[in-house]
């Protein structure tokens, strides 16, 4: 079961035009990354939080949990950014070990902080898209921006097949678990490997049956389906444009005043 996927079908923003959501996500993402501004990060985090939790209806606790997913990567990378080994001490901190210093400059620390801020803000943009837009709608948007047909067809099929395989995998693992297949590390690895092999075999069989079914309905190499798209609401487009312009203005203003 993929919770994010489940949530997006229940989102209050599900039926908002997908292209508008996509455009908002991408533009806001780019602004965050290019400016690395902490003020922008704060504004974006707030905006996405309100949109996703209040308008979208995602439970706040769950949203926080999701926002923490990249934390491990972020922490590790930050560590790599703010620790240097040098003969000369730098101005933020310096710890002497033997004849070397563990040190970093204030500029670096500040840089790392901005990475963290913009990182979280960027992730919140990704979540805005993921938690409020169905994959089917995302594929529809990709089609409109001329993503190659082969990729689109594969994505459509893969998205459906993922759930079929997850059910099978889950059933096999449960059957193994009740026979103590996952008690210790060694047996766990073995059981998982056997499950994966069994899953692959069943996946292969199903793929054959699925092709028979597609052929039976006239499949000739092109996966034709109806595209459902809701017209974009003028107010929504205007709101997005106003937001992005305001964001850029705030960033410019902050830079002029001298705050980040």
């Amino acid at each position: 079961m993929i919770l994010i996927d489940k949530m997006c079908y229940r989102s209050g923003l599900r039926y908002m035009n997908a292209e508008v959501k996509f455009a908002y996500t991408v533009v806001t993402l780019l602004i965050c990354i290019v400016s690395r501004s902490l003020i922008a990060a704060g504004i974006v985090l707030l905006a996405n939080g309100i949109l996703t939790v209040k308008r979208g209806g995602i439970p706040f606790a769950l949203y926080v949990k999701y926002m923490l997913i990249p934390l491990a990567f972020l922490l590790m990378s930050t560590l790599a950014l703010i620790v240097n080994i040098s003969r000369e001490p730098l101005d933020a901190y310096a710890i002497l070990i033997g004849s070397w210093y563990l040190t970093s400059s204030k500029v670096s620390l500040w840089f790392a902080l901005r990475q963290i801020g913009s990182g979280f803000a960027s992730v919140s943009c990704l979540y805005f898209l993921a938690l409020n837009t169905t994959m089917t709608d995302i594929l529809g948007t990709l089609k409109k921006i001329h993503c190659p047909q082969l990729l689109l067809e594969l994505m459509l099929l893969i998205y459906r097949f993922i759930f079929v395989l997850m059910d099978t995998a889950s059933a096999i693992m449960t059957a193994q678990r009740v026979r103590l297949g996952y008690e210790k590390l060694r047996t766990s690895l073995h059981s998982f490997g056997e499950m994966a092999a069994a899953l692959f075999i069943r996946a292969w069989k199903r793929s054959n049956a699925l092709y028979d079914a597609l052929e039976s309905r006239g499949y000739d190499g092109e996966l034709r389906v109806l595209e459902e798209s809701r017209a974009a609401d003028r107010k929504e487009i205007a709101a997005v444009i106003v937001f992005e312009i305001s964001l850029i203005f705030v960033i410019w203003l902050a830079k002029r005043i001298g705050i980040e």
């Binding site: 079908y9 169905t134 459509l156 759930f163 039976s216 309905r217 006239g218 996966l223 109806l226």
Partner: protein, 277 residues
């Protein structure tokens, strides 16, 4: 007036790649237009393989399939036409449903037939209403129950307006509510003149529902006939591990006890037996 033969198989042989034994060994079957035909036989007897020959997915190694008197045209165009006329609802919906969106799933078949998008949209909505799919049409496929998936898989085929619908054990995995739903739909479709072929293990149902029963074993047709003919032939039933319909047994017992006078024909269904009493 004699009903025309809509589908005919003459001496069809078929072996899967890599298999040693033939899945179909000289199958001869003629199906009349508008008939309800039940296919019975053990798993592996060749029913599903035969069905896939009828819409050209499998091409026989020997023998031929005829549709409306003409041999199947295995060209791309010919097959497309045939598949618009002969539809198969697969046993496991998870082997048929390829899209996460119900609407996209159903639109596939009709768009393949070359119907323009705006017309297709109307047809899809019509079939969604007809099959009572509207309550769950915006939910992702994986979130549907087995019965709901079955509804969608039938709608998949119905939207193409076929002349023949083949259902491979449609109620095998369904709960009583959905079993009744599916059986009711099958009756409705039949009343519209659509030829229905159904694979089933339920002798009682087949006896009551079918105009003809085809018994298969090991890739051969043991017998094709009316329910009366088939169900009275205990030997042949035993060969396919089937028992007499329950209704027949009760009827015999009632005749033994003198409650009923034996007439020429056996009652096909429970209702007919009740009527006799």
């Amino acid at each position: 007036m004699m009903s025309e033969i809509i589908i005919e198989a003459r001496n069809v042989f078929f072996t899967y790649d890599g298999d040693e034994k033939a899945s179909l060994q000289g199958v001869n079957i003629a199906i009349k237009k508008g008939n309800k035909v039940a296919f019975m036989g053990a798993n592996g007897s060749g029913k599903s393989t035969f069905f896939l020959c009828l819409n050209g997915v499998h091409k026989p190694d020997a023998g031929s399939i005829f549709y409306r008197g003409k041999p199947v045209d295995y060209s791309k165009a010919g097959l497309k036409k045939l598949r618009g006329r002969v539809g198969i609802v697969f046993q496991d919906p998870d082997n048929q449903l390829f899209s996460a969106s119900v609407t996209q799933e159903i639109s596939f078949g009709i768009l393949n037939m070359g119907v323009p998008e705006n017309e297709a949209k109307v047809e899809v909505e019509r079939v969604i209403e007809r099959m009572e799919i509207t309550p769950f049409k915006d939910r992702p496929t994986y979130a549907l129950s087995g019965g709901q998936k079955k509804q969608v898989s039938i709608a998949d085929i119905l939207v193409m307006h076929p002349e023949v619908i083949i259902l491979d054990e449609p109620t095998g995995a369904l709960d009583p509510k959905h079993t009744k739903l599916v059986n009711d739909w099958i009756d409705r479709l039949s009343s519209e003149g659509i030829t229905i072929l159904q694979a089933t293990h339920d002798i009682d149902y087949a006896c009551a529902w079918a105009d003809e029963i085809v018994l298969m074993k090991d890739g051969k047709v043991l017998k094709q006939g009316t329910p009366q003919e088939i169900c009275a032939d205990k030997e042949i039933l035993a060969l396919t591990n089937l028992e007499e319909p329950t209704v027949y047994r009760i009827y015999r017992k009632l005749c033994e006890k003198g409650i009923l006078k034996p007439e020429g024909t056996m009652p096909e269904s429970l209702q007919k037996l009740i009527d006799m009493l």
